[in-house]
Symmetry: C2
Subunit: 301 residues, 2 copies
Amino acid sequence: MEIVFLGTSAAMPTKYRNHPAIALLNEGEVILLDCGEGTQRQLIRAKVNYMHISRIFITHLHGDHFLGLPGLIQTMSFSGRDQPLEIFGPEGIDGLMENILSMGYYEKNFEIKVNEIEETVIAEGKNYEIEAFKVEHSVTAFGIFFREKKDRRFLRKKAEEFGIPPGPLYKKLQNGEPVEFNGKVITPEMVLGKPREGFKVLYTGDTRPLEEIVRRCRGAVLIHDSTFSGKLQRNAIEALHSTSIEAADTAKKGGAKALFLTHISPRYKNATPLLEEAREIFKNSFLSEDLMRVNLGEIVY
Amino acid sequence: MEIVFLGTSAAMPTKYRNHPAIALLNEGEVILLDCGEGTQRQLIRAKVNYMHISRIFITHLHGDHFLGLPGLIQTMSFSGRDQPLEIFGPEGIDGLMENILSMGYYEKNFEIKVNEIEETVIAEGKNYEIEAFKVEHSVTAFGIFFREKKDRRFLRKKAEEFGIPPGPLYKKLQNGEPVEFNGKVITPEMVLGKPREGFKVLYTGDTRPLEEIVRRCRGAVLIHDSTFSGKLQRNAIEALHSTSIEAADTAKKGGAKALFLTHISPRYKNATPLLEEAREIFKNSFLSEDLMRVNLGEIVY
């Protein structure tokens, strides 16, 4: 599984950082977290196939987080998409999507299912679930928690001890179905290993630091709002964003696997001071950069 | 005066070419021709101050030509703009702008004046006029013709012959007012040189080749739709675009100063064959590239 940072700036882009967007690459499926202006081009530059995007989560309705939607949808249409697309967003997403879909002349031949997130939402995938949970920003905003569901290991030895021959019965057990063999019922519990933890990615969107984030952190790759350096704590409080120090504190308290600082204010032409501040608190901190790819298996798990 | 190419691709962006947008830099004022997604970032990359944009012309309502508007307007708002902004576009621009201005949460503290172009429109500037004229595309579309109005030279020698002393009377004459001196009336005609031709920039937007363009070409820098190579003439006809050969024919027939090919299909990773085709017909042809700056005074006038 991979994380691709498509845009790592805050409200305004810079030469090096585009508006917010993150792609999660999961077994051929692409899940998009936020979709700032220019995301379609960042996808092309990052060689992520936009036709494989199945779900888009918009954390909140500030333009920098969603203004890439109309262009992306129109480009999907030009490219002949027929697969449905799901969009999740806060209150107002329905009206916004109506607006977006009515802009200009083009033909759309695929279905878009819009899901308004109320208090929370859980979206199920073939091997994952995604939870949206409320965070604290100047408008209704959500954090996004991706959890991989991992199959339990099949203990071949145990199956052999029960005398089950390799073949279709193994498959059934792996799929969680009990089988009958030699008059005995063998349940999956008897031949499967312990439940395994999968990858977890926790993206805060724009927010003040929150206990809700700390609680979900353990074992996760935390992608945290880090608009400001710790030196501008007051700005962070006023604008309802976080500092790199607050992001690192959260990662430490919650026991994250790794921390990626993102939503970097355009004032930081060189943002390494933010990274240095974070590393003093939480060693496994990284500064997100546009088009940066993180292979979860290789780097942090 | 300068032309800055901000985006030179067709409907979809590529790694090297963004969606259509062109900035005309005229004595501190920026006039934007089309505004594809990502234009605000291209302006930043090209070091063109987006706060100096006074007028935006949207040639037609295909998304690649206007989807940069919402983000640009929101960024102008964040940056504290209080100067009004004028937007010109074809039928439907009013409704589109209403949509655009209602997207997401932000505060706009400047006025936007939307002008729907019907058959044509002339916008006057302090030293220029801009004409929009109908072209031939799959939807209502306009070409944009920028003409600099140049002051007539003040013939100091003549003024001296009339015995007028240097000072406020010179100023009056330069400004086109007659003056009285020693009981004689001196008119501007008597002390001003011949009318001079200013810079002309003729941008076709998306179109088939047209007599309307040839007619306006003489002495102009022509920026012509060149979506396809001459080898794909049939595609150009079907999609109501032009080929590089048709663009060059137009420049030649009309007597343009220079031709810039733009709106290059993403299929051309290397578009020099389009340029070669054009140069065989019209020598002073150039291939537009993103962030390319053309100083009209130095290069072609």
